[in-house]
């Protein structure tokens, strides 16, 4: 190889673009953004107390001026439900929230017991749980189903 050819080759290689590496990086960026996209809806969690089959006492000895536990009963089937709070019928979850807020103003530490029928859609139970959280009532428990669990 003479001197002229070798210099020409070197010059050409100096200005040539390395496409393979660029494609690599572009694809990586593409995959990165696909991965980074959040496909799912934002998800959260509500803490709850699991009931016991033996009837765990959820509240310790309380002052007699305090309110007795708030009892929320949800009856019905699927989404056709009736909500009762302290034996009184409540129209919907929003009304339940308002009532719980009023009760929480009297006694913020009052325990809440959610007693829902097994046939009710789960979203109403979560609705009641959410209403209690909204009223800043943190001691929420569920009633245990009759019979308990036998493996």
């Amino acid at each position: 190889m003479d001197r002229h050819t070798s210099r020409a080759l070197r010059r050409r290689s100096a200005v040539s673009l390395n496409l393979a590496a660029m494609v690599d990086v572009v694809f990586l960026l593409l995959i990165f953004f696909i991965c980074a996209t959040e496909w799912r809806r934002p998800e959260g969690a509500l803490l709850a107390n699991i009931p016991t089959g033996t009837g765990r006492q959820i509240a310790g000895p309380r002052d007699e001026r305090d309110l007795p536990p708030i009892f929320i009963r949800i009856d019905g089937e699927g989404d056709a439900i009736r909500i009762r709070c302290q034996q009184r019928p409540v129209n919907d979850i929003q009304a339940l929230t308002q009532q719980l807020v009023r009760l929480a103003a009297i006694d913020p530490a009052v325990p809440v017991i959610i007693d829902a029928a097994g046939t009710v859609s789960f979203r109403w139970v979560v609705g009641a749980l959410n209403a209690a959280r909204k009223a800043d009532l943190s001691d929420v428990a569920f009633t245990a189903p009759a019979g308990g669990f036998r493996p």
């Binding site: 990586l28 991965c35 998800e43 509500l46 803490l47 009710v120 859609s121 789960f122 308990g148």
Partner: protein, 146 residues
Amino acid sequence: MRFRKERHPHGIDFNMTPLIDIVFLLIVFLMTVQELSRLELEEVDLPTADQARPLPQPPQRLVINVLPDGRLVVANQEMDLGQVWGLLERERDRLRASGREDDLTIIVRADGGAAYKHVQDLMSAAASLNIWRMTVAAQTEQVSGG
């Protein structure tokens, strides 16, 4: 007089492209692993709760999905209540061996349309094993039209 024109001799020239390649590959790998670890989350229509806090990542968590018809799915595997009970018992015993049985948290991801009794059964099963930590998964945003 002779000047050295090249600051680096050709042998130790620094090429950024493979470095960026590898860094990005690592990032994508880690993100994919994280995504795969979320496979335990089934596609269910979670109930809405605006008070829901970000899904916790406790070290010893067990996600139990409840489908609309009441079927239970754990880690992509469909199970009946007895099998879930067995799984919970094994997990509890495994943690009990290291004295961390109280760390076991159950995350119930139940469809909003599922009958409550399926979740109730699940709670009873957990209670029978003295597992008290449970969180209920909910979506924090209202679905349009829902």
